[in-house]
Structure formats: structure tokens, C-alpha cells
Point group: C2
């Protein structure tokens, strides 16, 4: 057994989160080529299935919907699910209860948050007319920010995150940033950038899609104004599970949503023609929440019982460190280039490797049971979910990657 395989075994033996793996459904079948189980490194796109979810969803469908039907809006807690599940997510992103609601897609929540941020800034300074956005952002944030700018009479200013502090000024109304870059896996400096936006008199919106559930966020501690995130990556909520919106408590009574649906009314069943926004986080709700997806997410969050984000972060860094070490040992020099920063303080929970034939390489990797994803035009993206990945998985993934990269094609 190679030295790295022995190391992997030792690291797995000392892993205090190792027991969590049993709470997920993972491959037990062998893959064709090597007789070993697959390695799922795409939890940063769609988290694996938590084992508690199927029975919970079956109960929601058969009993709550099938038997109780309409009564479940109250008796099964459907109506209050968006804020109840928001409070389950809150400790994972460093937020006290009462500041997060779950519902709608990330894109829709970006719209609420960016428009809301512009309006908050303008309460004090009505003339501000610029929205700054991360130019390297996952595209939907940029598209939605552009629409928000158009509909609030602002100009959109896309800049790379390192240039953000330099462009902030008296015109800045809102700034939309990613905590971790979806492509490179770079972790941005949330505390410093938040402080810089505040110093300029503006409001910041953080997109936590690639950080929530993988590393500490500290929304309350760092004074973040608004944040959004998806729940199907490191929170394992299932395909297209609803996103969430964080509105800092002290801003809630001034948060002015562009999507004031009946679910955010102070008295939703009063059916009043005049809109009166509810107090608190639920002002971020819109229409009827999608209960099946939402309650699957609630069940999925049970895997966090007894786990701290700090533990997860420590293991995440150990996993990505070890992956890079294995890649360096196995893959010929110069065959791939690492896009992800080596400094822990600048790294999320993924490793992005650039190679010119990335599309073909990823297809062959997946054929060998090592599942990451490909990002156009030349990036291999590997996500590391500490709750269900071990060091032996990581070593095997790097080994198969090296075999694929050195083969002539198969």
C-alpha cells in the first residue's frame, strides 16, 4: 500500500466526523474498472441524499397531504415552515434566530435582496444610483443585479472582488458579492469587504451558495446586511430545494421587498386589498411555499445535529490539502494548474483544476466513478463535503484522476 493510502487510512481513523457518513446514501456498488466504490465530489452542485429524507418525504406525501390535506397547513406546520427551517439554517451561517426565511430560488432571492439593499441605502441617501457586482460571479447574480439596477434607476458596475474597495463611493447604493467563487473556489474576505461597503455608506448582499454548510460565515458577527444562499449544495436539501434570504434584524422593519406576496402580509388570511408588510424575517416571504421540497430540506438538516461548522471547516481544509498533496504526487507536473488559492484563508471547500481537455477528462472520470463537474471552457471542479467524504475517497479520486490524465484516452 502506498504511503498516501496509509496516510488516508490514518486520517480516516482519527476523523471525528467519520460517523456522519452513515447518515447519507452513498454508493455501495463497485465501479466497472477497479472494483472500488465511486467518489462523489459534486456535493458543491447537488449534495448527496441524507438517509432520513425518503421516509420523511413519504410521510409528507402520504399522510400530511394524502390524509390531512388542507388541515396540514396548520396541523403539520406547513405554514410556518419557511421561518422554522430558516431558524435551522441560521446557526450554520452565524445568525441568531428570526432573520432567515426559506423559499423561492436563489435568483429570486437575489432580486429581493439587491432591490431591498438599494432601497435601504436610499432611505438615508436617495441620490445613490450604482450597484456594484462581482464581475466573476455565478452568472445569475449578474443578470438579476442588472435587472434590479434597471428597475431601480441604477447603473450596474461589475468589477472583480479585489477591485471592489476601490470603486465604492458616494454613488454606491448596493454591493452584491459571493462568499466563495463558484468556479475557482476562492474564499473572499467577507469581514473586510462588508466593512468597506459600510464605510462607503452602502449595503452589502452576500451570496453564500458555495460557503454555507462548508465554513463559518458569521453573518451577525460581521454586520452583514442581507444574504442569500441555496440549500442543495453543502446543505444537502435535494434538487432545486428552496433558497433562503437573511435580513439583518435591525433592518427588517425597513426592508422593502419588490415581491410583496400575500405570505409576507401582516395578516395573510385577512385577505385585505392593502399591503401591510409583516414584521420580522417573514417579510421576505412571497407566495405559497413549495412544501415537498421544503420539508425534504428540513429532514436533510438533521445531519447537522451534534456537528459544528468549525469542525466541518477543519475537515474541509484537511481534505482539500490532502487532495492537493495526492494530486501533486500522482499527476505529472504541468498537466493541471490549480486555480484555487493554497492559503487556507482564501479557500472554500472545492478544488478547481485547469487543464485544456477538461471536458473530456471529466467525462472519463465520471465513467470511472469519480464524479466532479466541468465548467466551461477548461475547469475540473471538485467539491468536498466533509460530512460524507473521507480521506480514502480523496486519495482514490486523485489516483483515478492521474490515471485518466496520463492515459491516451479510453
Amino acid at each position: 500500500m502506498s504511503e498516501l493510502r496509509i496516510r488516508a487510512k490514518e486520517l480516516d481513523g482519527a476523523d471525528e466526523l467519520a460517523g456522519k457518513r452513515a447518515e447519507f446514501v452513498l454508493d455501495t456498488a463497485s465501479d466497472g474498472a477497479s472494483g472500488t466504490a465511486g467518489v462523489y465530489l459534486d456535493g458543491n452542485s447537488l449534495g448527496a441524499l441524507p438517509a432520513a429524507v425518503p421516509a420523511r418525504v413519504a410521510d409528507v406525501v402520504a399522510r400530511q397531504w394524502g390524509e390531512l390535506r388542507i388541515r396540514s397547513w396548520t396541523e403539520s406546520g406547513w405554514w410556518t415552515a419557511p421561518e422554522r427551517i430558516g431558524d435551522r439554517i441560521a446557526p450554520l451561517v452565524g445568525a441568531a434566530a428570526g432573520q432567515i426565511v426559506v423559499g423561492d430560488s436563489t435568483s429570486v432571492n437575489v432580486f429581493k435582496a439587491v432591490v431591498g439593499a438599494v432601497r435601504l441605502t436610499r432611505l438615508a441617501d436617495p441620490g445613490r444610483d450604482e450597484i456594484v457586482v462581482d464581475a466573476t460571479t455565478f452568472p445569475t447574480d449578474g443578470y438579476i443585479a442588472e435587472s434590479a439596477a434597471r428597475m431601480t434607476g441604477c447603473t450596474l458596475r461589475p468589477v472583480t472582488p479585489d477591485r471592489v474597495p476601490g470603486v465604492l463611493g458616494e454613488r454606491t447604493a448596493a454591493v452584491l458579492l459571493n462568499h466563495v467563487d463558484y468556479r475557482s473556489g476562492r474564499l473572499h474576505d467577507l469581514p473586510a469587504l462588508t466593512a468597506a461597503v459600510h464605510a462607503a455608506g452602502a449595503r452589502v448582499v452576500w451570496d453564500l451558495c458555495h460557503s454555507a454548510g462548508a465554513l463559518p460565515v458569521g453573518l451577525d458577527g460581521h454586520g452583514v446586511d442581507l444574504a442569500v444562499g441555496c440549500t442543495y449544495k453543502y446543505l444537502n436539501g435535494g434538487p432545486g430545494s428552496p433558497a433562503y434570504l437573511y435580513v439583518r434584524e435591525e433592518l427588517q422593519d425597513r426592508f422593502d421587498s419588490p415581491l410583496p406576496g400575500w405570505n409576507s402580509h401582516a395578516e395573510p388570511f385577512g385577505m385585505r386589498p392593502e399591503y401591510e408588510p409583516a414584521p420580522g424575517a417573514l417579510r421576505g416571504r412571497v407566495g405559497t411555499p413549495d412544501i415537498l421540497s421544503m420539508l425534504a430540506l428540513e429532514a436533510a438538516l438533521d445531519v447537522w445535529d451534534g456537528v459544528s461548522v468549525e469542525q466541518v471547516r477543519a475537515k474541509s481544509l484537511a481534505l482539500t490539502d490532502f487532495f492537493l498533496e495526492c494530486v501533486a504526487a500522482y499527476v505529472p507536473d504541468g498537466r493541471v494548474e490549480c486555480l484555487t488559492p493554497l492559503a487556507h484563508g482564501e479557500r472554500g471547500s472545492q478544488i478547481a483544476l485547469r487543464c485544456p481537455d477538461a471536458g473530456d477528462v471529466m467525462r472519463r472520470l465520471i465513467g470511472r466513478g469519480v464524479v466532479g463537474d466541468f465548467r466551461h471552457p477548461d475547469v475540473l471542479r471538485f467539491g468536498f463535503t466533509p460530512l460524507y467524504l473521507g480521506f480514502a475517497d480523496v486519495e482514490r479520486a486523485a489516483r483515478v484522476l492521474a490515471e485518466v490524465l496520463t492515459a491516451d484516452g479510453d
Copy 2:
């Protein structure tokens, strides 16, 4: 056996849709008071569970998510579900394929549609600045229309539907109307109102929440511009199942969504910073669709196999006629007042009865197994879903209602 019970039995015997009842999960348990099964008259709020749904959802969770994971976006058809399921809904609302996408809540789709309608009108006539909305609408439509007005520089003009033709004019940009009123059950004249809006040079958005699946809509035939609807009422998609957006084919290349998410990009996996809207109906998509709720809906739509909306409409009118006849026979004169029009051409698939103690009456009805709902302050609302209700159910509901209304309280 009373004459009405005999009639009910005869009507059930002649009902060509009677066999459809077996495709739903309905009460078999007896209720405490009379030993008879419950009657579910709240399908206009949450449709009953189609029997095919639990196994389908279980497969989506355990196999598609649990085993195939990320591969399901292509291999299980997740990515194309919004337009595929839209095409399943299309014939139910009189639309050719390629004009409907499923996703997001009704409220969010109202926002897309109303802003889109204003922008379409302004392509020809940029100065138009008024949005007309049904003043008696389900509240969320009014709240969202107000936000759309604010964000497009329009004034909102709420008027009752009968006054709509009189207020249309050179300032009208968009009109948002309900096909069936959520409270009274009144069916509005979609062909005439659509023609009136067009004659004024504006665009119309129809909310089909309370008509789709209950009666013919004829979107294409009547030249409707845009429409939205939910899928959890007469389409039985489950709690909070995603809504849909119809954009008439000839308008699609000019439809300019206020929520341009990455799912509506011409090349979504190109990850390009510039937004380029996709052609066709999928321009109405936004972010990642909620797959669990969406595929539950897809399974639920199987109950429409071999059924025409015209058949459903004929039975719906027969059910509501018979309910009114039974109420007239059983309930003392003057105890309730019917808010729903008696003319078939003005009636949806519900009956709304006004009585001063409606809240208390509905609580007691539900206690007796007859489930309708209460709308503030004095309305008893009963929805009639022809696919799973029979005439004996209707007779029993009216009989229990009469007992509750004539009792001193129980």
C-alpha cells in the same frame, strides 16, 4: 331514502368520470358522527393526492437523487422539466405546446407577467403608464401589481371587473384579471375582456388559479397575451407545487422578464456574464427549479389521461347545480345567501355561501367530515373537483350543512 339521495345515486351511475375517483387517495375512514366517509370540498385550495404520486416521488428521491445524483439533471430529465410539464398543462388551458413553463410561485409569476406586459405594450407606445387590476382579486395579485407599477413607473388602478372596459384607454399599459374570483366563484368573461384590452392597445394577464383544470380557458383561441396559474388546486400538484407562466408564442421573442435568471439564458451552461434570453417559453424560467415538487406535479397530471376539460366542466356544472338544489331543499330559507352566480356562464367550480356565523359553521362542518373553507368575514367556500367528487358526496355535504346550520351549536 329521500328523493335527492335517489337522484344522487342515479347521477353517479350515469357519470362517465366516476372511474377517475379511484385514481385519488380519499377518505375511507368513517367520521364520528354519522358513520359516513368525509366529503372533501376544498380541492380549490389544495387538491387531493393522486394515487400515482407517492411511488413517483419515492423514486425521484431514492433513485434519481439518491443514486444518480447530479446525473439526473440530464438522465432523469430534471433540466427540461419546466417546459415538459408546461406542455402537459397546455391542453388543459387551451394552449398549443411551447408556451408554458412551470416554476416559482404564482406571485412571482404574476410579477414576471405584469412587468412583461407593461414592457410589451411600451414597445409600441412608450408613454403608457397605468396598470389596471381587479379590485376584488386574491390579494397577492394586487400587492404584486402594485410593486410592478412602482418599478415600471406606472400608476395602479384597481377597479371591479365589470368596470374594466370603462377605464381602459390611452394610458393603459397592462391589465391583470382573474378568470374565476377566489371568493365568490364568479367566472369572468375572458374573451370579451381580452378583446376590450386589445382594443385599447394594451396587454392582458389572466390569473387562472381558480379555473385551470375546472373549465375550458381557451388561451390561444381568445388571443390571451400572458397568463399565470397555480397547480395545487384543480391540477392536484400538491402543497405549494410550482406555478406556471404562459407567454403567447408571437410575443415570446419580445417578452422581457424582470427576473432573468440563468435558467432562461440562451446558453445556461456557457456561464457568460452577458445575459442573452433564450427563445421560446423557457425565457420565463428563472433559477433552479424545485424538482421534488415539480415531479410530484408531473405524476399528478397523469389523472388527465383520457379526460377532456369539457367533460370536467359539464360535470362541474352538474355538481354545483345539484349542490344548490340540495341546499335549497335542506337549508331553511334565508339562513345562507349564495354569492356565486346562478348563470352557468358566470360560474366557476365553487359555491360560496354567505352566513353571518360562517367561521363557526365551517369549524363544525369540518368536525363532521365536510371540508370546505372559510373566507373572512362571512363566506363558506365549497370547491367541486369533478375528477374525484360524486353526486352522493354533494348531497351528503348539503345535508350535513343543513344539520349544522339548524343546530343550536355542537
